[in-house]
């Protein structure tokens, strides 16, 4: 049977082989290797006659076809008379052709979808600059950062505590007992009796209260003032004692 050579550039050796097989209307599972090989080789030489550059892969498949053809000529070795144990030399080629055909069909499907796709239009993006305003703030946080922040804080706090432990608080210069005694005695210029409570202002701290109390005790010891308490835990009244000999003096 004469076949007409189509002078298309085939995409590859498999493409050409599939074309030849289909053109010869052969069953893929029962390729007449001898026939297809000679067709394949004829085609290659024809292409060469036309000075069409052939990829080396076409030659590789030619060699494979010739190899299969020669194997087919060999008598089938019968292993225990089991025909099924005989491996058809064409098996691998058939698999490859099927695999290729599968994707050739897939490509044809894609081609149709591409054609449909080209008939659907989307629109270009609008000028978004008219909508863009100040960028939104976006808080970027992760756990490690969070833990780190907390650690840093605890460290800082411990450092401060540590420093507190190691250093004594330096007190400001405060009023002495002597100064306070002079102050209290001064108060008696205006009145003869003073309630202890009146010596302590509301805003005074422990130091001031103790200072006042110690100063009063000292004044008693020096006999400068006398104290009276009418009820237990009641108010303490201070009165200035008449100085025996004019000025106050330190006895002992």
């Amino acid at each position: 049977m004469a076949y007409k050579v189509k002078l298309d550039i085939f995409e590859g050796p498999f493409d050409l082989l599939v074309y030849l097989i289909e053109n010869a209307e052969m069953n893929i599972y029962d390729i007449k290797v001898s026939e297809i090989t000679s067709q394949y080789l004829n085609y290659l030489s024809l292409l060469q006659d036309y000075n069409i550059e052939l990829a080396s892969e076409f030659m590789v498949l030619a060699a494979t076809l010739i190899e299969i053809k020669s194997k087919m000529l060999l008598p089938r070795p019968k292993i225990d008379g089991d025909e099924s144990a005989y491996e058809d030399p064409r098996a691998e080629l058939v698999q490859k052709i099927l695999e290729y055909k599968k994707f050739k069909t897939a490509a044809e499907n894609l081609e149709q979808l591409e054609e449909l796709g080209l008939k659907i239009y989307s629109k270009p993006q609008e000028d978004l600059s008219q909508y863009t305003k100040e960028p939104d703030e976006f808080i970027d946080l992760d756990l490690s950062q969070f833990v780190k922040a907390f650690n840093l804080f605890i460290q800082k706090k411990k450092k401060i505590e540590d420093i507190h432990k190691r250093y004594e608080k330096i007190e400001q210069d405060r009023m002495s007992v002597e100064d306070r005694m002079i102050e209290i005695r001064g108060l008696f210029k205006a009145k003869s009796g003073i309630a202890f409570h009146d010596l302590i202002a509301d805003n005074q701290d422990k130091y001031d209260i103790v200072l006042t109390f110690v100063s009063v005790l000292e004044l008693i010891r020096l006999n400068t003032v006398s104290v009276r308490q009418h009820t237990s835990l009641g108010e303490i009244y201070l009165t200035l004692k008449k100085p025996k000999g004019g000025e106050l003096h330190h006895d002992e």
Binding site: Y121, K123, P124, L128, Y131, T132, K133, E134, P135, D136, E137, F138, I139, D140, L141, D142, L143, Q145, F146, V147, A149, F150, N151, L152, F153, I154, Q155, K157, K158, K159, I160, D162, I163, R166, Y167
Partner: protein
């Protein structure tokens, strides 16, 4: 003759592809119908989009029609188009956030006594970012506001719930280790003080 439905659908496609205001006359020519008929279809389409409250509308400009967005959606478009800027929380903000996360519900006073510094501005910022919120009032004097973290906080850190917060004991250990390493520095500082 082409059905009204087909023509109207085609007009929508044409408006969409054309982008600019589409002349009714030009559109009418595609179907060989008169101006009045085409104009009527455009008006019908515009009415449909308007009635359905669609996010796109068909507006008429001088016997031409054009797709455009619904004015009311401008804010959302702006939000879509505005690039987001990454903003990290400051150290004070992270500290306050950590204290609230672990001690919630907590008052401003408690936070300030832990940090030893005022934190009104920081609280304001965190509340604005929706990481913390007022969760109630303390029964204490002046009934101060109690603060707690929000679901936004959980989302930001990828926490499922507050149980996902790292154990505070673990944090304590880490701190102690680091403290030991740094104890030499403290002594040096102590020396400086005495000499001064």
């Amino acid at each position: 003759m082409t059905s009204k439905k087909t023509i109207k659908s085609a007009f929508e496609s044409m408006l969409f592809v054309w982008g600019d205001p589409l002349d009714v006359k030009v559109a009418a020519e595609v179907f060989n119908i008169d101006f009045k008929e085409a104009y009527g279809y455009f008006l019908e389409l515009a009415q449909e989009y308007s009635d359905e409250g669609r996010g796109i509308e068909i507006r008429e400009i001088d016997k031409k029609f054009q797709f455009c967005t619904r004015l009311e959606n401008n804010d959302y478009i702006e939000k879509l188009c505005s690039p987001t800027k990454e903003k990290r929380l400051s150290q004070p903000a992270l500290e306050v956030l950590a204290i609230i996360a672990y001690k919630q519900p907590v008052t401003k006073g408690e936070i300030e006594s832990i940090r030893g510094i005022k934190c009104d501005r920081v609280l304001e910022g965190l509340a604005k970012k929706e990481l913390i919120a007022e969760v109630g009032r303390s029964s204490g004097i002046g009934r101060p506001i109690l603060y707690g973290t929000t679901p936004e906080f959980l989302k930001n850190f990828g926490f499922k719930d507050l149980g996902d917060l790292p154990e505070i004991e673990d944090i304590g250990e880490t701190v102690q280790k680091e403290e030991e390493n740094e104890s030499i520095d403290y002594q040096q500082i102590a020396l400086d003080f005495r000499e001064a």
